[in-house]
């Protein structure tokens, strides 16, 4: 009896591990990756050109470029190595990396699409046999359903695109330009003297 219970527990643990592993792998494949980097370089144009060229070589592309910012899409499968490449082009002052699971949304849209499409087939069957008085009503339903199907297809295309390509956002300086506060709120007096603005001012005033 105990022997069978032990086997049952072991099987359950094994099953849980398998589910965890498979969902993990699934999660990796069905996630949208967004990475943001603040990159400090001496020549922004030169580095931007190099990054765009590298993106092209890995079947990626840039979709926005200004003097301060560069936004690219690269295949998600090579996102991490591409981010490493970008990091090597200067000093990474700040970085973030997020991966949001879109698998549930995609599955739900795919299921909705399937049910709507089979419903549409049914409507066409109904339409064939419909009396003249009810044709208009069925046609209206068909039109609405077709619109819904197109919308779902669009969403699915968007989700698949988001999963397939990682979004890489490179800024060449901090976006938030608010300087840190020097409010002197610390209970420890010397800590209140630690301030970049005051340090710079001290060097400007050293001759006075």
């Amino acid at each position: 009896m105990i022997f069978f219970r032990t086997i049952n527990i072991s099987m359950s643990v094994l099953f849980c591990l398998m589910v965890a592993c498979s969902s993990n792998a699934f999660g990796e494949e069905q996630s949208a990756i967004v990475s943001r980097l603040v990159l400090k370089v001496t020549d922004r144009d030169q580095v931007a050109e190099l990054i765009i060229q590298q993106a092209g070589e890995v079947e990626g592309w840039f979709f926005s470029r200004t003097d301060e910012e560069l936004q690219l899409k690269v295949p998600a499968s090579i996102a991490k190595s591409f981010i490493d490449f970008v990091g090597q082009q200067g000093i990474v002052a700040d970085r973030s990396y997020s991966s949001s699971y879109l698998g549930d949304r995609l599955s739900q849209r795919l299921a909705s699409l399937k049910s709507r499409e089979s419903l549409l087939i049914n409507y066409f069957e109904v339409l064939k046999k419909a009396k003249q008085s009810s044709v208009l009503a069925v046609e209206q339903e068909v039109v609405a359903l077709t619109e819904e199907i197109e919308k779902l297809k669009g969403e699915i295309r968007y989700l698949r695109h988001e999963i397939k390509y990682a979004r890489i956002n490179i800024t060449f300086q901090f976006r938030n330009r608010t300087a840190p506060v020097a409010d002197g709120n610390s209970s420890f007096p010397w800590l209140n003297t630690m301030n970049l603005t005051d340090l710079v001012r001290d060097f400007k005033n050293v001759h006075k």
Partner: protein, 156 residues
């Protein structure tokens, strides 16, 4: 009479020399300044600057309220991050022969982005020795290793 005058003159000369050396400020020890930096005359604070505008300053503060380095590590990091600095890295460092803490931060300043490096250690438990260095990020990176090496060899 002549001997007395001579003694008075010698004493005056000595007084003038001693006074002169006491009033003026000398330059800080060479090993306390990063290589390639120009130093200002030493006061209670040591200051130096590189040709690319990277600033370097050593100052002392009383260890008040009295606390160990571990306490100041946490307090310093919390205060700077609360103030809005961007954390880059931190870790232990030798400040001369003493155990110290190194905190590297980043922050926008005007149109530029700056690196702000702070190293702190305790001297005889009564004083905190604080080394600060800051400069535009790219310019700072070129001097970073020199600055770190200088901190590690500080003669306090």
């Amino acid at each position: 009479m002549y001997i007395n005058k001579m003694i008075i003159n010698i004493i005056l000369a000595v007084i003038i020399i001693v006074a002169a050396s006491g009033c003026g400020h000398s330059l800080p020890k060479e090993q306390n300044i990063p290589q390639g930096f120009a130093s200002y005359e030493e006061t209670e604070t040591i200051r130096a600057v590189s040709s690319s505008g990277v600033m370097y300053r050593i100052k002392r503060e009383k260890n008040e309220p009295y606390a160990e380095l571990a306490f100041w590590k946490e307090a310093l990091k919390k205060r700077m991050l609360d103030a809005g600095y961007i954390y880059v890295k931190d870790g232990d460092i030798k400040v001369g022969k003493r155990s110290g803490y190194l905190l590297e931060l980043a922050a926008p300043l005007g149109t530029q982005d700056f690196t702000y490096l702070i190293a702190v250690c305790l001297q005889d438990n009564k004083q905190l020795v604080i080394v600060e260095a800051a400069g535009e990020m790219v310019a700072f990176l070129e001097k970073r290793q020199t600055i770190i090496s200088t901190i590690e060899q500080l003669e306090l």
